[in-house]
């Protein structure tokens, strides 16, 4: 199992990259070259511990903690914010450059530790659905021009899940919890079950303290927490303050005063998450599911359909694409539309391209508020492998 690319492979990759970049720049995307070496702290805070475990982190002679970028999206966000600190100026960037990830199961052709990403990112565009469709269409166009014939597309929409949760009756903080836990299927199910049971909501809490807390009186709650710690001989140590601890206990006290989530509501959420259907049947199917519980999802579903129509109009056959309600669950920073392009030669475990909407990421990297953002990247080694395996000739 060799991980080193041959000279012929490198030349083929470079020729392929030139073609991809020509497609991107012709579509109005500006070519950028973000830094390879990134500050570890900021980068790792954004991507989370799972990708961190696969990121090459090192210390330079001054003691600064640095990393080799594990993807190009975060560095491109940083570059955008250097130019426009508020992030809200519309801009379109493309890149073709190496990224680096440790492969725990060993590196191979479809999972190299140094791989070239060719990608596009569009920031601060006003019409989200049109921009989503544009990014998918351009990605597919670039793959086709590179010579990839048969492809399969999978899509998801994290915005629909958010819309469903918004439409269901429950306290705002429960919505926030469910949206947050959506990324972790087991934890999500556990939280959903917990919210349906008053006993479960009360479990593990210091009851004598929580019973006395008044959600309308945060200062009183902080004093009560300090009093409780004092009485039980427990010292307040570390970075979290008594006020912080009190804030969470006040939430718990408020939870105990709520009616638990209805079992039917929890069941509706579970059945939504399980939905898998061809894209063209998605709107009607989901509308039916929601209406059965008296829930109106039409705004989110209309946006979903508008996006599909745009993609169709761009000449991409999307009707037969698989929609999966939980697709995107393993990619934490996405917030809306998500997609993957699969080459039959490589299979669904190694998609040749993928992307989606991530309206929260620029704010995490330093923008003062959320900024619309959607992007996609092509795994160029996989693309080359798919072309070689399929024995297809690059289009002239």
């Amino acid at each position: 199992m060799s991980t080193a690319a041959t000279t012929a492979d490198i030349e083929a990759l470079e020729a392929q990259a030139r073609g991809l970049m020509a497609t991107f720049t012709r579509a109005g995307y500006e070519r950028v070259e973000p830094a390879v070496i990134q500050p570890a702290a900021l980068f790792l805070d954004v991507i989370g511990e799972e990708l961190r475990a696969r990121t090459y982190v090192f210390t330079d002679p001054d003691g600064a903690e640095l990393c080799l970028r594990p993807d190009l999206t975060v560095p491109t966000c940083r570059l955008h914010l250097e130019r426009h600190p508020a992030g809200d100026v519309p801009a379109r960037y493309c890149y073709s450059a190496p990224a680096f990830r440790y492969q725990a199961a060993g590196a191979d052709r479809a999972h190299p530790r140094e791989f070239r990403q060719a990608g596009i990112e569009s920031f601060a565009a006003a019409d989200r659905e049109a921009d989503d469709a544009g990014v998918l269409a351009l990605t597919v166009e670039a793959l086709r021009r590179a010579g990839l014939g048969r492809i399969e597309i999978r899509i998801g929409d994290l915005g629909l899940f958010a819309a469903l949760i918004e439409a269901l009756p429950m306290p705002e903080r429960w919505r926030a919890r469910l949206k947050h836990q959506f990324w972790r299927p087991d934890a999500f199910r556990a939280e959903l079950q917990r919210l349906t049971s008053a006993d479960a909501l009360a479990r593990g809490l210091p009851h004598d303290l929580v019973g006395r807390l008044d959600p309308a009186d945060p200062a009183g709650a902080e004093a009560a927490v300090l009093g409780h710690l004092d009485k039980t001989g427990c010292e307040l140590i570390g970075t979290r303050t008594a006020a912080e601890i009190a804030l969470r206990l006040v939430d718990a006290a408020a939870d105990l005063r709520e009616k638990p989530l209805r079992a039917e509501t929890a069941a509706l959420i579970e059945s939504y998450v399980a939905v898998k259907a061809p894209a063209r049947e998605t709107r009607d199917g989901l509308a039916r599911l929601a209406r059965g519980q008296g829930v109106d999802l039409s705004a989110g579903l209309d946006a979903f359909q508008r996006r599909l129509d745009r993609i169709e109009a761009a000449g991409i056959g999307i009707a037969g694409a698989e929609f999966s309600a939980e697709f995107g669950r393993n990619l934490e920073y996405y917030t809306g539309f998500v997609f993957e392009v699969i080459a039959p030669a490589l299979g669904p475990r190694s998609p040749v391209a993928g992307g989606g909407r991530y309206d929260g990421l620029l704010a995490e990297v330093g923008a003062p508020g959320p900024v619309p953002a959607v992007g996609a990247s092509i795994h160029t080694e996989r693309l080359l492998a798919a072309l070689q395996d399929a024995g297809q000739e690059a289009a002239p």
């Binding site: 790792l44 805070d45 989370g48 511990e49 799972e50 961190r52 475990a53 725990a104 926030a176 919890r177 947050h180 836990q181 990324w183 972790r184 087991d186 934890a187 999500f188 556990a190 939280e191 593990g204 809490l205 210091p206 303290l209 927490v225 409780h228 710690l229 427990c234 010292e235 307040l236 140590i237 570390g238 970075t239 979290r240 008594a242 912080e244 601890i245 804030l247 969470r248 206990l249 718990a252 934490e332």
Partner: protein, 233 residues
Amino acid sequence: MNGKLVLALPSKGRLMEQCTAALAAAGLGIVRTGPARGYKGEIEGWPGVEVNFVSSSEIAQLLRTGAAHLGVTGEDLVRETMADADERVRFLGGLGFGQADVVVAVPACWLDVRRMADLEEMSLLFRRLHGRRVRVATKYMNLTRRYFAQAGVTGYRIVESLGATEGAPAAGLAELIVDITTTGATLTANGLRILDDGVILESQANLVASRVAPWSPELAAIEAQISARFTGA
């Protein structure tokens, strides 16, 4: 290798003494050979075995790469050193010493955090208030990542800690820790409490066989004899 079965044992400290005693109790007398403080040895009456004395963290590495056939080391170190431990080694049995639990411990004053699930939710508020992720001090980076991922906890960062980990929260170097504990007294003394579902692993010294070492039928037979001394099989 010279065709002998390589047995890696802890080279010093209490672990070495307990290990020698446990082997002696099983009828295996360990003698050091060569220079007085040599790092080589043998088992009396077992010419097919070569003993290497190395530091206990290195024993897991030797078993991982197959440079040792057998070793005595803690399950915690084995599982920390290899993500695919059950594919690379076989645990032949606990030896009844070196007991230690690898646990997730938080400041006892965190009245709002009892379970792993609370940790994830608390980390959201923490990040909003402090502008960074909650830090976990540990030397068990891999065990921590695996256990936290299993429990659905992702909003954290690991800071590597090579000693006195239990002091990190009070010193402001981390918010919580993953560390080993035997009685829990050190944790309590440092104002920490183990989460209700915070025991990652109940570890003890184990006789461990490498699956990837160069085994011959002769060496496998010796291994079976040694291992029978412990399991009573």
